[in-house]
């Protein structure tokens, strides 16, 4: 059954699938940093939503929905309107293209991102495999 995006269930599913992925474990072996994905409202989605996930050396933990940014600090935040996230998760927008073009606004350690771009690609690859319900 498809899991609604964005939701606590969806980010927990991402966490589970990342932990099951050998390719992600390898690609992110040196990655250290928790993330908040910020889903901004647009025509198809009404309210700002925050998804938190802790990513340390190829393993994911503590995945949950945040009520606000005050609840949790993170090394990285990535924000974009709902439909931009949808395009990324459906494979219609390359995540690195999204970051460089400013469609995905990323704040965090540039060193980490630029040294291990494969971690980002593998995470998106795993996320794309989740049976996701975008609501339309």
């Amino acid at each position: 059954m498809a899991i609604k995006f964005p939701s606590a269930e969806w980010i927990q599913e991402l966490s589970a699938q990342l932990n099951a992925s050998e390719a992600y474990a390898q690609a992110a072996a040196t990655w250290e940093g928790d993330n908040i994905f910020i889903i901004l409202p647009d025509d198809d989605y009404p309210a700002t939503t925050y998804l938190y996930i802790n990513l340390q050396r190829g393993k994911a933990s503590d995945a949950r929905l945040l009520r606000s940014l005050d609840e949790q600090k993170a090394l990285f935040t990535t924000s974009a309107p709902f439909n931009t996230w949808r395009r990324v998760l459906e494979g219609r927008l390359d995540p690195i293209q999204g970051i460089f073009s400013g469609k995905l606004k990323l704040v965090g350690s540039m060193a980490q991102i630029q040294r291990t771009p494969k971690a980002t690609y593998e995470m998106v690859k795993v996320a794309s495999r989740i049976d996701t319900d975008f609501g339309s």
Binding site: G98, I99, F100, M110, A111, Q114, P117
Partner: protein
């Protein structure tokens, strides 16, 4: 004539004559400046009989209409001539401060013909030009040359363009250095300068560039300063330089490894621009009015190098992964040697890569190399070969002819990694298929500065307003060919404005800046038309020099799919891609000849 000084300095070295010539306003209006304007001038001065290293080959230093203004990124100059390396149109450009200073000294450009009897250098100070004997400078490296000339002139702010030993020795891989270690590196124009016995040009001035609407111009340039503060590509370049792309390039299969034959190799990540910044960066350096400061000044303790310009991404590829050298300090040192002698790191690296490959295959033996064993991964041998090349000593005299000449000499032209005899840069066209068009149609041979599909498809450019959307890098289609051609037109405009390609403010601000500087009243689509006209004049000139449609091709080496990495299995579909590009440029499908109204500009 707003946006221009209106003066070209003419130098006839054979007759020891200097005079001013009024800039041709029609040419400037139709071909802008830099390499476009140079192509229009040189169209009348070059033909098939022009010897690239002869007195009759004109060498043109040219700026663009925004150079020396408050426009960020407008600090470059172009150098153009018939290339001794390729035999076709040669152009190279460089940042720093030389271009702006030339304009402050009173000139848009310097057109040099003839050959001095003895080595000379040229000074252009506050509108006054003079030739000086350069006997004691001959043999100096590029840093010593610049230091000594600044001392001679008694002005530390004098800007100097010069050649090193490689240019003096007519090495076809020689570039022209300025502002310490910045280079107009490609197509061997340092050898053209050397063939004229011209060691250096020193410029200094206090003039200003006349602008059509100074207040509006300042408003645009102020707006751009803010734009680059938070721009992700700009922040990345500031933090890690062009080298910051290396890990991503490796992931995507864009980074050539082992002479373009391996798609992925874990140690390549050790050449990371992040590591370079964290371990060996001394400071950032910036060109005129640049707010990014992507330039690197590094050090290499192992090799006792305390101050090195670079390395750029291209250096890390050409003198690193291509040669299976994954030690950052070794690459820094190899880059420093190329700088000292005045060599193009791309052409040098790709020529050395072929030497390694030939040796590996037994097509080159110690009997051919004066006893040298040339193997992948041997940094010490690379250092030695760079020096031998610059000095044209031993096997270095063979390497001095470049990659294509070496492949021909070994009887395996199919192993050459060149397009029209210019060595392929560190962007594999199998990773971004649009680059296949860019390389095949580039007016100067394989060149990533004639169209950066890797930036466009990564989303690093900002060109939607002129129909250039980021796309799928592995799209192999007529439409991709069209996009690549359009991008090539755009970057040819940049190379004529002599703007830095790392600053992409978008069409609106750029258009506003051009119009405020020149008063031309251009619209967005005019920019692409101008770019196409510039591509076309260079193409007509190349046809005049003997090129045909058959030259629009990639080397066999780059048409073989790689088995691994980010480009595994992908090869460009050249007929489909080229058909799209021809259609976009309006070229005859059979002959490849530019059609339309171009001849009215000649």
């Amino acid at each position: 004539m707003n946006g221009y000084l209106g003066r070209i300095l003419r130098v006839d070295l054979s007759r020891d004559r200097l005079w001013d010539e009024t800039l041709n306003e029609d040419y400037a209006r139709n071909f802008v400046g830099g390499s476009g304007l140079a192509a229009r001038y040189l169209y009348d001065l070059l033909d098939r009989n022009t010897d690239p290293l002869g007195a009759d080959n004109p060498l043109f230093f040219l700026t663009g209409p925004l150079v020396g203004t408050s426009m960020t990124s407008a600090g470059r100059y172009s150098v153009c001539a018939r290339s001794p390396l390729t035999g076709i149109w040669g152009e190279a450009n460089s940042g720093g401060f030389f271009g702006p200073e030339l304009r402050y000294a009173g000139y848009d450009g310097v057109l040099i013909t003839g050959r001095a009897e003895q080595p000379v250098w040229l000074s252009i100070i506050e509108g006054q030009a003079a030739l000086h004997k350069a006997g004691d400078l001959w043999g100096c490296d590029i840093y010593a040359t610049q230091a000594r000339l600044r001392e001679t002139l008694g002005d530390p702010k004098t800007r100097i363009a010069c050649i090193g030993l490689a240019g003096e020795n007519l090495v076809k891989l020689a570039g022209i250095a300025n502002d310490h270690g910045r280079f107009a590196a490609r197509t061997g124009l340092g050898a053209v300068m050397g063939s004229k016995n011209l060691k250096a040009i020193a410029v200094r001035g206090s003039g200003k560039v006349p602008l059509y609407a100074p207040r509006e111009f300042k408003a645009v340039t102020d707006q751009l300063l803010v734009l680059y503060k938070d721009d992700f590509p700009a922040k990345s370049l500031r933090a890690y330089g062009t080298a910051g792309y290396l890990n991503l390039s490796h992931l995507l299969g864009d980074l050539p490894i082992r002479y373009f034959q391996v798609g992925e190799h874990a140690p390549a990540d050790d050449l990371s621009g992040v590591d370079l910044a964290e371990k060996f960066l001394t400071r950032n350096t910036a060109c005129h009015k640049c707010v990014i400061a992507c330039g690197r000044e590094t050090h290499s303790p192992t090799h006792q190098d305390s101050k090195v310009d670079g390395p750029e991404y291209e250096t890390l590829g050409a003198l690193g992964s291509l040669l299976m050298i994954f030690d950052l300090q070794a690459v820094i040192h190899a880059g420093r040697l190329c700088n000292l002698y005045g060599l193009d790191v791309i052409s040098m690296g790709v020529t050395l890569g072929l030497a390694c490959e030939l040796f590996e295959r037994g097509l080159l033996t110690p009997a051919d190399t004066g006893g040298l064993e040339i193997h992948y991964g041997d940094a010490a041998m690379v250092f030695r070969l760079i020096e031998l090349t610059a000095r044209r000593e031993g096997f270095g005299a063979v390497l001095a002819g470049g990659n294509a000449a070496l492949a021909e000499r070994a009887g395996v032209p199919e192993l050459s990694a060149t397009v029209n005899r210019l060595e392929v840069p560190m962007h594999d066209p199998r990773a971004y298929l649009g680059m296949a068009v860019i390389y095949a149609l580039s007016p100067r041979g394989a060149c990533h500065m004639q169209g950066d599909m890797f930036d466009l498809d990564l989303g690093r450019s900002n060109l939607v307003e002129v129909g250039l959307d980021p796309g799928d890098r592995h799209e192999n289609s007529f439409e991709k060919g069209r996009i690549a051609a359009r991008l090539q037109a755009w970057r040819n405009l940049y190379n004529s404005l002599t703007l830095c390609q790392f600053e992409n403010p978008g069409v609106g601000p750029l258009l506003a800046a051009i119009n405020a500087a020149t008063g031309w009243g251009l619209e967005a689509e005019d920019l692409i038309s101008l770019g196409k006209r510039i591509v076309n004049i260079k193409r007509l000139l190349n046809f005049k020099l003997g090129m045909t449609r058959a030259n629009d091709r990639l080397p066999d080496l780059l048409l073989k799919p790689l088995k691994e990495g980010g480009t595994a299995g992908h090869v460009p579909d050249m007929p489909a891609l080229l058909a799209g590009a021809y259609a976009e440029f309006g070229w005859d499908a059979e002959s490849g000849y530019p059609l339309g109204d171009l001849h009215q500009w000649l």
